[in-house]
């Protein structure tokens, strides 16, 4: 992935943003990390932005517009549906996983409680997306 592409984190918990951005720093991920605290805010941003983010990290349980509603919106939008979305959630629920993949997510990661483990998850995402080509490079 182009190191200049933004990565958009959609999560209502600011601590999650802290954890992800710390992991970015530790793992030397050069991409700028944007944070929107629910689906609605993220939607507004995407509709207005000129440069689409390279990847969206999406929480499922959020106020205003939750992860699934956000997925429904984005997958119905011709311009936006090219952006790969990785679900990053505390839910290990079968139903949530199935529902997410039905909405064509690119990955589903369960947030570990330990920071080291958390960093490993982010590292995995980094490894994958620094190799994988995007459709909108």
């Amino acid at each position: 992935m182009n190191p200049l592409k933004n990565i958009l984190l959609v999560d209502d918990d600011p601590v999650e943003y802290m954890k992800v951005s710390r992991a970015f720093k530790k793992l030397d991920i050069p991409n700028p990390l944007l944070h929107k605290s629910d689906g609605l805010e993220a939607k507004k941003y995407l509709e207005e932005c000129t440069e689409l983010p390279g990847l969206i990290l999406l929480d499922l349980n959020m106020p205003n517009m939750n992860g699934f509603e956000f997925l429904t919106f984005i997958k119905a939008d011709e311009r936006l549906k090219i952006i790969p979305i990785v679900v990053l959630t505390t839910s290990n629920n079968e139903k949530d996983k199935i529902e997410s993949y039905k909405q064509s997510v690119a990955g589903y990661m369960v947030k570990p409680i330990r920071l080291e483990e958390y960093e490993k998850v982010i590292s995995t995402i980094k490894d994958y997306w620094s190799t994988s080509k995007l459709g909108h490079e």
Binding site: V15, E16, I113, R114
Partner: protein, 659 residues
């Protein structure tokens, strides 16, 4: 004398002599003529006589009742009279000419006939041979033949004269007679019916075997007795009355049920058919009595009667209402139960339409449909909302069946009625509670889901923040401070697991859609690939693993929980885990055996409760795994058991019902 003279004289003599001779010849020839003439006349009259006699003989011969034929030594017919031809089916002499008797002999009589031919050859005749031949129309005829040999001048037999008589009709009659005698004998010897023949005084004339067996006396016994001697004293009067009226020819036949006495003194019930045999003067000669033992029938009847009485009592006294209606729904009968249920008296109901008495429009419609069903011969049960005499409303459960008469014609229906108003109310209450229970369960599940997420999120934040604190301010804490921070992190981690446990516990539920057939071993093999076995623990698998019909995820959870526990709590240098399976009558069972620490007797019950763990060494556990196990197993009406000894190990076994 001259020679002329002499010649003249001689000539004259000769003339005279010739004349005389001529005269003699003339006379003789005339005589001859006359006698010839006479001869012709006589001959003619003889001829005529002979012809007349021949005709006479021929007529006699032809008109003989018996057939007459002559045969040559080859058995070929050379002569026959009309009777013979008629018997053999030929119409003329020409037709019968050349017929060989051998050819028309019936194949079964060939041997028999040979003996007679031998007799003929030996003694020159045979008498009264009877055998079959085929006539010209291939009908079988019985012939009686008397035969005499014909000899030539040298006393050799050159043929025979045979008198043949058609005895077919006689033979047939004999056979018929034999047959009908046989039939009569068969009737008389009938195994199921005893037959006795009495004379007009009631004395025995003849009895058959069965009669003898029925009574148990030897045949001689009867010959000195009269009929009434073998009857039960109470039945003598009516029996004798019948015999009297047959004797008087008032009736010729009668039936009577009476008791006979066996030799043992024991009486048996029999149905007797008595008929009279009369002579030309219509006087009774014999009674013929046919005796059928009906003891078994009588017993069956008595049992039937008792049973009927029993059921009548049950029906009369049961709490169920019984109602019989005709095809127009008119009440024919109602038992006491129905009277009490409906509030109407029997008199109030008889002949009335049941639906008018008890039903509103909707129920009437239902009953009309049911009546139609009943006419098709169908039985069923249904519920009806009815109105009692006092106008109170009740729910009745009705089981209806068509009612037929002796001829199998539908004449109405019989209904058994049970008041189920209370049950209905209970049922409806139960249904309501079931519904609220379901709602409550759903609520609980949603609650667990929401709460766990809502608790999880801030917990995650706390944990995240503390870990950041730990990382960023590591230098600012002394050793105790560091330990406290580490403890807080551990506690939050544990709490996270607890919340996760509650979530999975609450999401265990039965769902028919997720039920599938699978082979348990397949799931186990798949699962074992994902479970990490430490180096010092070995796994052994044995037994027959069955196919199951359940949610495969549930099965996986069961096995996973037991195996991970067996690994987690193993404190031995060489840890052993054994997974086995088998079945008994009702259950498939799976057992996980370990040689780990074992569980103290007093904790063995509690271990399946939520949040119960007995972990002295601080191993990470939510204490919810076995609670989930128990919940899953109980969901399928199964059970879990535990055998354990501290220090030795534990065996967890779960049982799943076969169906």
């Amino acid at each position: 004398m001259s020679s002329i003279e002499i010649y003249k004289k001689a000539l004259a003599r000769e003339k005279i002599a010739r004349k005389m001779a001529e005269k003699i010849i003339e006379d003789k020839s005339s005589e001859l003529y006359n006698s010839n003439h006479e001869l012709i006349r006589i001959n003619k009259s003889v001829e005529k006589e002979v012809r007349a006699r021949t005709k006479e003989i021929q007529d006699l011969f032809d008109n003989m009742y018996d057939g007459y034929i002559t045969l040559n030594s080859q058995g070929v017919v050379t002569k026959s009279n009309k009777a013979a031809r008629v018997i053999l089916g030929y119409s003329s002499d020409e037709e019968i000419a050349g017929l060989s008797l051998k050819d028309i002999l019936h194949e079964d009589d060939i041997e028999h006939s040979k003996k007679y031919i031998e007799l003929l050859l030996k003694q020159g005749y045979y008498n009264n041979y009877v055998g079959r031949v085929y006539d010209a129309q291939r009908n079988i005829k019985y012939l009686e033949i008397n035969s005499n040999a014909i000899y030539d001048a040298d006393n050799n037999i050159i043929g025979s004269r045979d008198i043949i008589r058609d005895v077919t009709a006689k033979k047939m009659a004999e056979q018929q007679l034999a047959l009908s005698e046989e039939r009569m004998r068969a009737v008389f010897d009938n195994k199921s019916v005893g037959i006795a023949i009495f004379n007009g005084n009631g004395g025995f004339v003849s009895i058959n075997k069965t009669f003898q067996q029925q009574l148990g006396h030897p045949e001689e016994y009867f010959m000195t007795k009269v009929a009434t001697r073998i009857l039960h004293p109470e039945d003598i009067k009516k029996y004798r009355a019948l015999m009297d009226s047959i004797y008087k020819n008032e009736v010729q036949e009668a039936q009577v049920e009476s008791r006979y006495l066996r030799k043992s003194g024991e009486a048996f019930w029999a149905n007797s058919n008595i008929s009279g045999v009369y002579n030309d003067q219509k006087n009774l000669v014999y009674y013929i009595v046919m005796v059928e033992d009906i003891t078994a029938k009588k017993i069956a009847e008595e049992q039937l009667r008792l049973q009927e009485e029993k059921y009548r009592n049950i029906i009369a006294n049961m709490n169920l209402g019984l109602l019989e209606v005709d095809i127009n729904d008119k009440v024919q009968y109602a038992n006491q139960g129905f009277v009490e249920m409906s509030g109407f008296t029997l008199d109030e109901m008889l002949g009335k339409e049941a639906r008018t008495l008890l039903m509103d429009v909707t129920s009437s419609k239902t009953i009309e449909e049911k009546t139609t069903e009943r006419q098709k011969g169908k039985s069923d049960a249904y519920e009806l909302y009815i109105t009692k005499k006092d106008k109170s409303k009740r729910w009745w459960l009705i089981s209806g069946a068509p009612k037929y008469n002796d001829k199998g014609e539908l004449v109405g229906s019989i209904g058994i009625h049970l008041d189920i108003t209370e049950q209905k109310e209970t049922q409806s209450k139960l249904q309501n509670s079931m519904q609220s229970l379901e709602l409550a369960n759903q609520d609980l599940k949603d609650f667990a889901h929401v709460v766990s997420h809502d608790l999880k999120a801030p917990l995650r934040s706390i944990s995240g923040l503390i870990q950041i604190l730990q990382e960023d301010y590591r230098d600012k804490f002394d050793e105790d401070g560091q330990q406290i921070v580490e403890d807080v992190i551990n506690r939050t981690e544990h709490m996270d697991e607890l919340i996760g446990g509650i979530l999975s516990y609450s999401s265990v539920q039965k769902s028919e859609e997720k039920k599938t057939f699978f082979h348990s071993k397949d799931i186990i093999d798949k699962l074992l690939k994902y479970i990490e076995f430490p180096q010092h623990i070995s796994l052994e698998i044995e037994g027959d693993f069955p196919s199951l019909n359940m949610n495969p995820t549930h099965f996986q959870q069961l096995i996973q929980n037991f195996i991970t526990n067996a690994i987690k709590y193993n404190d031995k240098e060489h840890g052993k885990v054994k997974l086995s399976s088998g079945q008994n009558d009702q259950f498939y069972y799976f057992a996980v055996q370990d040689n780990g620490r074992g569980i103290d007797q007093r904790n063995q019950e509690k271990i399946f409760n939520m949040f119960q763990k007995f972990d002295a060494e601080g191993k990470s556990s939510s204490g919810i795994g076995l609670a989930i196990v128990k919940k899953i197993v109980e969901l399928y009406q199964g059970k879990v058991s535990l055998q354990s000894e501290v220090g030795e190990g534990s065996t967890f076994t779960f049982y799943l019902p076969k169906n």
